[in-house]
């Protein structure tokens, strides 16, 4: 019979890519003027213009260290403001001549550590930084990046050491923010907030980027202390600086989500669908709205596709986000807990602890939470949301 025959051949013949790989059917646009993609115009965007020019020169002189470093730095900056890791790959390409080198030039070494950190390859990033500290112990960047990584890993005494060295080499708002950050996670949250508030008032000459970072760190510390209205004020001051900062948007959205202000998050992030972390918050906000916006389903499947694409690539950089997605949008506590546990092997930030404990509660697997509970206690971490979860877990 025809249908049987077709089934036999059809299975092998039609090009079937799973939903992971293909979102829609490829098509021929009807109109030549159809806009397919938006990029940075080199005519209107000075940085894009500079990057194109640098890349052109770099193609001719791939071994030019200052040129390669300048281009790589531009790319790293772009990856931050656009929340687009494609630029990190471009930066790595510029450093390709020295990527495997045992002892590259110091500037390359520090940038290489930054890129390895961005791939969550913390071990090798720290190795590069140790080498850099031997070659150029007075380079403040080395100590700042080291402090950052150690803070993410939850090694607060190591991070504090690096911060102190940084403060000696480059005193100022950056060093203070780094120290305050570590202190706020390590039993001195109130002190850290006063320090930051005082410093911010006194450092009116600091750059917009520096202020933005300090204000965000302050806001996050205040959130952990449960001082939500002060935190909101700090977030708003940071937003008022006018920089597009995906990290700031994400942190502020988390506060709003905790306060049940999903509609505000949906409005804040409605045009931020490209960055996974922001799309995740947007979808979380939409899931809390009644009725759910029409875009909700599409956002969930888009996130799913992105995580699956990451798995295909062998990237496991966003396990924290994926755990959050799995718990709150897919409602699979067991899988979320597994992801949170794997993520915990790599990094120890409050957000990592929170999704771990939330998953453990949802999966009713209280013994799994042990390592996180021990960490919170040992480091005197002050965080009202974590405290609620600890309470829940200890009461059962």
């Amino acid at each position: 019979m025809l249908r049987n025959t077709l089934a036999v051949y059809g299975a092998g013949i039609t090009v079937t890519l799973s939903a992971t790989m293909l979102e829609g059917e490829p098509y021929v646009p009807k109109d030549g003027s159809e806009v397919l993609e938006t990029i940075r115009s080199t005519a209107f965007d000075p940085v894009a213009h500079q990057m194109r020019e640098l890349r052109g020169r770099l193609t001719a002189e791939p071994d030019n260290v200052p040129l390669a470093c300048q281009f790589a730095r531009c790319c790293i900056e772009r990856s931050r403001t656009e929340a687009d890791p494609r630029f990190l790959g471009r930066a790595q390409a510029a450093l390709a001549p020295w990527w495997e080198a045992a002892q590259p030039p110091i500037d390359v070494l520090v940038l290489r550590a930054t890129l390895k950190q961005s791939q969550h390859d913390f071990t090798n990033a720290l190795a590069d930084l140790s080498l850099a500290a031997r070659i150029a112990p007075n380079n403040p960047q080395v100590w700042l990046t080291r402090a950052t990584i150690l803070t993410v890993l939850g090694d607060y005494s190591g991070a504090r050491q690096a911060c102190l060295t940084l403060a000696q080499l480059a005193p100022g708002l950056i060093a203070l923010t780094a120290i305050a950050n570590v202190t706020s996670l390590n039993g001195g949250a109130e002190r850290a907030c006063s320090l930051l508030q005082g410093t911010l008032g006194a450092n009116s000459s600091a750059s917009v980027d520096e202020k933005g970072w300090a204000l965000t760190a302050l806001a996050e510390s205040l959130v952990r202390l449960g001082r939500t209205s002060d935190a909101e004020a700090a977030f708003k001051s940071a937003l008022a600086l006018g920089q597009h900062d995906p990290y700031l948007l994400g942190a502020y959205s988390d506060l709003l989500l905790d306060e049940g202000r999903a509609a505000e998050v949906a409005d804040l992030l409605k045009n931020e669908t490209r960055a996974d972390a922001l799309l995740l918050r947007l979808a979380l906000a939409e899931s809390a709205l009644a009725p759910r916006p029409a875009s909700f389903e599409a956002h969930v499947s888009s996130l799913k596709a992105r995580f699956e694409a990451g798995h295909l690539r062998g990237d496991f950089v966003h396990q924290r986000e994926e755990a959050r997605f799995t718990l709150w949008l897919l409602h699979q506590p067991q899988s979320a807990l597994k992801l949170a546990q794997t993520n915990w092997q790599v990094q120890h930030e409050p957000a990592d602890m929170r999704i771990f404990l939330e998953s453990a509660v949802a999966a009713a697997d209280h013994s799994a939470a042990g390592p996180v509970l021990e960490f919170i206690q040992a480091n005197h971490l002050e965080d009202v949301e974590l405290a609620k979860l600890v309470e829940k877990l200890n009461h059962k």
């Binding site: 019979m1 049987n4 299975a11 092998g12 979102e23 397919l36 900056e77 990190l88 900062d245 996974d276």
Partner: protein
């Protein structure tokens, strides 16, 4: 927390790679190996192509379809220079067959369809993938190999840019031979065609006399009659199959399949209550036109080998004819030897036709109302 990044030159940089941004540069490559051809589809992100070959021709910050089209040559030659498919030392020639657009979760992609030629009887494929690695070592080519319902996946990266895949698919043959065999197979595995033929052939060794079936006296006229029926059927379906395959006529699959089922019902019913002329070959010709559309749908799903369409069509039609003659070769001597028996006229013809009618009515209902209850 945020990563703060101090520049060494007066420049100050903040690095926040931890905002959990979207996926890094990926491309999606699929290859589809069938017994007849090797085709593929390659999805390349417009943002990667922009950096590799330049797409924003007027530099206004948007890439339009017209701009992509105007850079089709550059995109194609870039892609072709970055993908090599070889087999046992022979290099496959890649031909871009189409340029489409698709949207993935991280942006718009150019979709290149291509055919690989020059790798006859390939048992293993060696792929060398080098797209974008020079501008982005984090780029990955996500590869999918499809053959006969099997799927394999692999990832190409700078350290895994060359990979080998053993094919389980039988070696591709010349399209003519392949489609000839497909034609034979199609007749044998397509029960509706077999039953239609049987309905026409059952009375082939009988003649209608005074409202009763009588056995023919000589074998030769009966054989001629049967061959006329089979050949008329082939000629007719060749006509519509060719018209349909060449794109001149197209009928919806469900309509065609339903009509084919109806033709089987009618042919069988005619053996019980004769209502059309005894000239079986004319009936075969008329309904053959219909069955041709059904073959065309099957052929389309097999993947027509463009460029060798004539050989393909001729091979398929010839295969169908050979398949039918093989059925005749089994059926005719049997029917001829049994034709004198009252058993043949009463039971084989009548019960057989009634059974065919019932089965075909079932198909008709299934196909008209799009459900499934018969096991075949």
């Amino acid at each position: 927390m945020k990563t703060f990044f101090l520049g060494f030159i007066a420049l100050l940089l903040i690095s926040e790679p931890r905002a959990g941004a979207h996926t890094q540069s990926s491309a999606y490559l699929s290859l589809n190996a069938t017994t007849t051809n090797l085709t593929g589809e390659w999805h390349l992100a417009l943002r990667d192509l922009e950096d590799a070959v330049g797409l924003d021709v007027n530099d206004d910050g948007v890439i339009t379809w017209a701009e992509l089209l105007s850079r089709k040559e550059a995109v194609s030659s870039y892609a072709l220079s970055r993908l090599h498919i070889t087999s046992d030392g022979q290099t496959g020639a890649l031909h871009i067959t189409k340029l489409l657009v698709d949207h993935h979760s991280d942006g718009a992609y150019a979709v290149l369809g291509f055919e690989v030629e020059g790798l006859p009887a390939a048992k293993r494929l060696e792929l060398t993938y080098n797209a974008f690695f020079d501008i982005d070592p984090k780029h990955r080519g996500l590869f999918r190999l499809e053959e006969e319902g099997q799927t394999r996946v692999a990832v190409f990266g700078p350290d895994t840019s060359r990979q080998t895949f053993d094919l389980t698919t039988p070696a591709p043959r010349a399209p003519f031979v392949t489609f000839l065999l497909e034609g034979v197979w199609h007749i044998w595995s397509g029960y509706d065609h077999i039953l239609f033929l049987l309905a026409l052939l059952l009375p082939g060794v009988l003649r209608r006399r005074n409202g009763e079936w009588q056995p023919v006296t000589a074998a030769r006229p009966a054989l001629v009659n049967v061959l006329k029926i089979v050949t008329a059927f082939t000629v007719a379906h060749s006509i519509t199959l060719s018209l349909s395959a060449l794109g001149y006529v197209h009928l919806p699959t469900r309509l065609v399949e339903s009509a084919i089922a109806a033709s089987v019902v009618l042919a069988a019913f005619n053996n019980l209550v004769p209502f059309f002329a005894e000239r079986g070959w004319m009936v075969a010709f008329g309904f053959g036109l219909l069955h041709g559309f059904g073959f065309a749908n099957a052929l389309r799903d097999l993947g027509l080998h463009t460029g060798q369409l004539a050989a393909t069509l001729f091979g398929f039609n010839l295969g169908v004819e050979i398949g039918q003659l093989a059925i005749v070769a089994v059926f005719f001597p049997l029917a001829l030897s049994l034709r004198e028996l009252i058993f043949y006229q009463r039971f084989v013809l009548r019960l057989g036709s009634a059974a065919i009618m019932m089965i075909a009515s079932g198909w008709l209902a299934e196909r008209m109302f799009d459900f499934k209850w018969l096991p075949f």
